[in-house]
Symmetry: C2
Subunit: 266 residues, 2 copies
Amino acid sequence: MIGVFDSGVGGLTVVRALLQSVPTSVELVYLGDTARVPYGSKSPATVARYSKMAARFLTDRGVELLVVACNTASAFALDELRASLSIPVIGVIEPGARGAAAVSAAGHIGVIGTLGTVRSGAYERAIAAIAPVAVVTSHACPLLVPLAEEGWLDGDPIADAVVRRYLEELRAKDPLLDTLVLGCTHYPLLKPNIARISEEVFGRAVTLVDSGEAVAAPVAAALPAVATDKLERRLLRCFVTDEARFAEVGSRFLGRPLDHVEKVDL
Amino acid sequence: MIGVFDSGVGGLTVVRALLQSVPTSVELVYLGDTARVPYGSKSPATVARYSKMAARFLTDRGVELLVVACNTASAFALDELRASLSIPVIGVIEPGARGAAAVSAAGHIGVIGTLGTVRSGAYERAIAAIAPVAVVTSHACPLLVPLAEEGWLDGDPIADAVVRRYLEELRAKDPLLDTLVLGCTHYPLLKPNIARISEEVFGRAVTLVDSGEAVAAPVAAALPAVATDKLERRLLRCFVTDEARFAEVGSRFLGRPLDHVEKVDL
């Protein structure tokens, strides 16, 4: 069984990618910490504390591989989770960094994410370890999460204006960007606007790297650690710490209706 | 001692109003549940649970009067807090409702707030109890909180566009509005845009009622329950469940720098 956790609903974009790449004989279980979402504006200590509680819930249920879908949790809690758990733990930052380093021709990589992820410097460190000469520029985009949750997406004038403002601020920091990491699980919903507007702002096509999709490769590599079930996977079990709007908003992130949502206290 | 609690930083707009109306011999203490902010998108059960924990923290410190500055907490937890505590508990919804009923000439009252506050119907019930013939129309405005926290305020084209969209949606529900309740502690920061744009959208001046300011009157009435201190109040003590950005963002809400911020676990 693979466990995936996120601060809220956004990690369902990672589940969506895994549902396409993981054999159906492997069970997936999801935990969204919706009672305490968002993590992106909170301190490292608080994010690490919540992440450990989420991980414990999933390991108590018997998961054999843990995917930390939340970028902020990956930035602040991954080392601690790896040190304290005996199962493989995969975050989204290293796969995203690897993906960006692989596709960037000019070596000018941008990262957009939450305040926490950007302040952590985690992408800078991860990319430097793989591609030491790459130039990495991060920019926090706090309005993108509420926009995605409100469903104001591609073509919405306000959503487009917010995306344009953030990308122009990023361009002021590095006009030579050729690659942009979507460093938050909410951002794939805004991928069409980001693709279109980044081309206008930078005057060339910018390659977008979705950290959530990039996680499929390391998960595939770790699959031998995961037992297959006798039955084909029929449903995706989702646990949440607060039910409000999860099913309603979640289907937009997962790309299909949610099967099973159950509220738990951590 | 008066205790004020809110889901996060927004309740400092209520403290700002109280600092002007409460004698300086009465001590004020503030708790922002910043580790679990926001409440506005969460379920009634979760909001009630967090509110009780916040109230317990303040009563354990000896407060003699509790002000629930958060509209969502007032909507979902006030009755329960009143039933379980032996001190006076004042929420923001009844004072806001009273203020709106007093100033509305046409009796067409709008309420803007979080998803939770709007779904609760608390303002509708409170206004109906005071002014049974008033027409009350509520509208949830989820983007206004992140805009205020980002500091995109009056005159910012994106902030103005978001305010205009929500007010146009409200106008479609009731074009006869003459009064609008700011039913969230974050909204006073956007009061200039809301005042200007509501006049354009409705074609007449719309009277804005700030629920946080309206709380000053019932607090004044309850002051005999509160002991005065020997010393003049010198500082405002703030407790938060997560420190990230509180001091930075908080001074914008309080209108002056914060004296004393201490992190606590609930």
